[in-house]
């Protein structure tokens, strides 16, 4: 299967959409920690200089300030690489933001292996786990620009905190313009009755490719894009488990605490079926190109096909 790559980087689709919202909603405020040029928030600074803050290199302070801004009615969006936005400022996110019920929107860029040449120190493979464990937090990984534009107004309108896990680069095009999305509802991208592949982020195109390869062998794989990892769409998952009887999850994250864990939590309780998880197998990140790292950590369509066959073997035994 050949996907076309969007000519617009997701960080630009994002910031353009945010600026549109900001035109109408004067409460939207942008904060960044010395990565405005990397995250394209520099555009927001140029357009709304009075509503954009570059705090410098100080993530914990940024998150705390965002909470304070939210307390006086602003809608703050914080930006930096996901490793710093989620990991470095976690205590501030927990207490000043979530526990204090201040609805900050946290935008973590370069998740998982998309941190590529910044290497292992910068490679968040645990952020979904950290954030998912905080009550009231919504965790979303937009897959392409169509989705990003569609969900951003919903994100801005939420009165609870949100973590957006954003691949800055040019994404693969998955959805047709105009497609609608609801936060908390997964999207079925392809039907199939033999097994279900549940994927997010850069593993979505891999999942579709895997489904194509499986189809050539007569195996019908349903593909769900579970872009909201929390709250997870339990209804859709249970239905898929009932109808297909086997599940493979695929994510650009540690298999511990990420999408795979979230899916297992639902299914083990409501409708246990054989399951396999594609993701980083509890390893630290490394430096290299995204392509190299996907191979290195088994984040590929081939890995999904392999796990699909394994899970089918268990289903049929």
């Amino acid at each position: 299967m050949r996907f076309s790559i969007d000519e617009v980087a997701m960080k630009d689709a994002y910031i353009d959409a945010l600026m549109e919202l900001a035109e109408e909603n004067p409460q939207i405020v942008v904060l960044d920690a010395d990565l405005m040029n990397s995250n394209s928030t520099i555009k927001f600074l140029k357009r709304f200089p009075e509503r954009a803050i570059n705090v410098g290199v100080q993530e914990a302070n940024m998150l705390g300030m965002a909470a304070g801004l939210a307390a006086v009615g602003k809608i703050p969006f914080t930006h930096t690489f996901a490793c710093f936005n989620a990991r470095r400022a976690l205590d501030q996110i927990y207490m000043s933001v979530a526990y204090a019920q201040l609805p900050v929107k946290i935008v973590g860029t370069d998740p998982g292996v998309t941190a590529a040449f910044n290497g292992g120190t910068h490679m968040p493979l645990e952020d979904v786990g950290f954030l998912r464990g905080i009550p009231t937090m919504t965790v979303i990984e937009p897959v392409d620009n169509v989705m990003m534009r569609a969900i951003l107004p919903q994100v801005a309108a939420m009165d609870t905190p949100v973590y957006l896990r954003v691949n800055r680069k040019q994404p693969v095009k998955i959805y047709a313009p105009g497609t609608e999305f609801t936060i908390g509802k997964g999207k079925v991208l392809r039907d199939g009755d033999d097994l279900t592949i549940v994927a997010t982020g850069i593993l979505v195109p891999e999942a579709l490719e895997a489904a194509e390869a499986l189809a050539e062998e007569g195996i019908g794989a349903r593909v769900i894009n579970m872009f909201t990892i929390k709250p997870i769409d339990a209804e859709l998952l249970i239905k898929a488990a009932q109808e297909t009887g086997a599940v493979v999850t695929a994510e650009n994250h540690n298999v511990i605490n990420g999408l795979g864990s979230a899916v297992a939590e639902v299914l083990s309780q409501h409708h246990p079926v054989p399951m396999e998880r594609v993701g980083v197998q509890d390893l630290f990140g490394e430096v290299g190109s995204v392509e190299y790292l996907q191979q290195r950590f088994g984040l590929t369509s081939e890995a999904i096909v392999e796990k699909a066959k394994a899970v089918l073997g268990r289903k049929n035994s």
């Binding site: 010395d34 705090v55 910044n118 290497g119 910068h122 290299g288 290195r296």
Partner: protein, 281 residues
């Protein structure tokens, strides 16, 4: 304590070699954190060319002095220095950032021979460096810890937690350097979150603080020796530097933190460095 003329020339020559090696290393890749690598070259030349005790064949020798490169994104300049000093083959520089490499963009103590501490998330080297200095003191050892911070990095709260503790702890085996190149990722520090009177800030935290020209090897050397003579105080040396220093396509450019460059640009930059010495290529 004055640096002799010949020694000065030798260190200046080493600085030039480090710059060239760093450029060659980046050249294989076509992009990288060039600005902040170039601004610490004279410091690295003085430390590895004269001041520090180390054994390239035994990188974890327990008599060594430690370098904590808290601004870990300048790793490539450190790697170039370590390669020139024989910690690993010069050719290994070609592997910078390639999949499977031992030279990742941020310094990693488990990957690169001669790298003493893992850094990359700014601010953290301040604390790990303090810990190393404290531990060495507990053991009654005389190893020094040299700790390098960026100026943008000084916006991190963790730096000032460390400054408070380090000032109170009176670690006379610790010398902190601030690479005050006046620029961070998004441009000039003064336009983002200025540091004000940096020296006064460290002084009020109880440190012996000095300010020198960070591209003058003699000034750096003499400041280190003065710091070493001070007893019962932690030391900081603020290095006034220029981001991208000595690299034709990076010096004086506002956004020179992470750049893309061509092979030709690298060749021209190297030629300019060689030419500056008089033996043009």
């Amino acid at each position: 304590m004055m640096l002799e003329r010949e020694e000065q020339q030798r260190l200046e020559e080493l600085a030039k070699e480090i710059r060239i090696a760093t450029l060659e290393e980046f050249g294989h890749l076509g992009f990288g954190h060039i600005g902040g690598a170039m601004s610490i070259v004279e410091l690295l030349a003085v430390l590895y060319g004269k001041v520090m005790r180390y054994k390239p064949e035994e990188p974890r020798w327990d008599g060594r002095d430690w370098l904590v490169l808290s601004k870990g994104h300048a790793g490539p300049a450190l790697y170039a220095t370590l390669a020139l000093k024989g910690f690993f083959p010069y050719d290994m520089l070609k592997t910078l950032n390639q999949g499977g490499t031992n030279l990742p963009s941020h310094a990693d103590r488990n990957k690169t021979p001669g790298v003493d501490m893992t850094t990359g998330s700014l601010g953290q080297g301040m604390s790990t460096g303090l810990g190393v200095a404290l531990g060495l003191k507990m053991d009654g050892k005389d190893n020094y810890v040299y700790l390098v911070l960026g100026d943008g990095e000084c916006q991190e709260g963790q730096i000032w937690e460390g400054a408070l503790y380090g000032g109170n702890a009176k670690l006379d085996n610790l010398i902190v350097f601030v690479d005050y190149n006046k620029q961070q990722l998004d441009g000039y520090v003064d336009n983002i979150n200025p540091l004000g009177d940096l020296r006064a800030k460290w002084e009020t935290f109880g440190w012996f603080a000095q300010e020198v020209d960070g591209h003058d090897v003699a000034q750096i050397y003499e400041a280190i020796r003065r710091a070493q003579e001070v007893e019962g105080k932690s030391s900081v040396i603020i290095l006034h530097t220029i981001k991208g220093k000595g690299c034709t396509f990076a010096e004086g450019v506002e956004f020179n933190h992470h750049m893309r460059f061509t092979k030709e640009q690298i060749e021209q930059a190297i030629a300019a460095l060689k030419g500056a010495e008089g033996n043009a290529v």
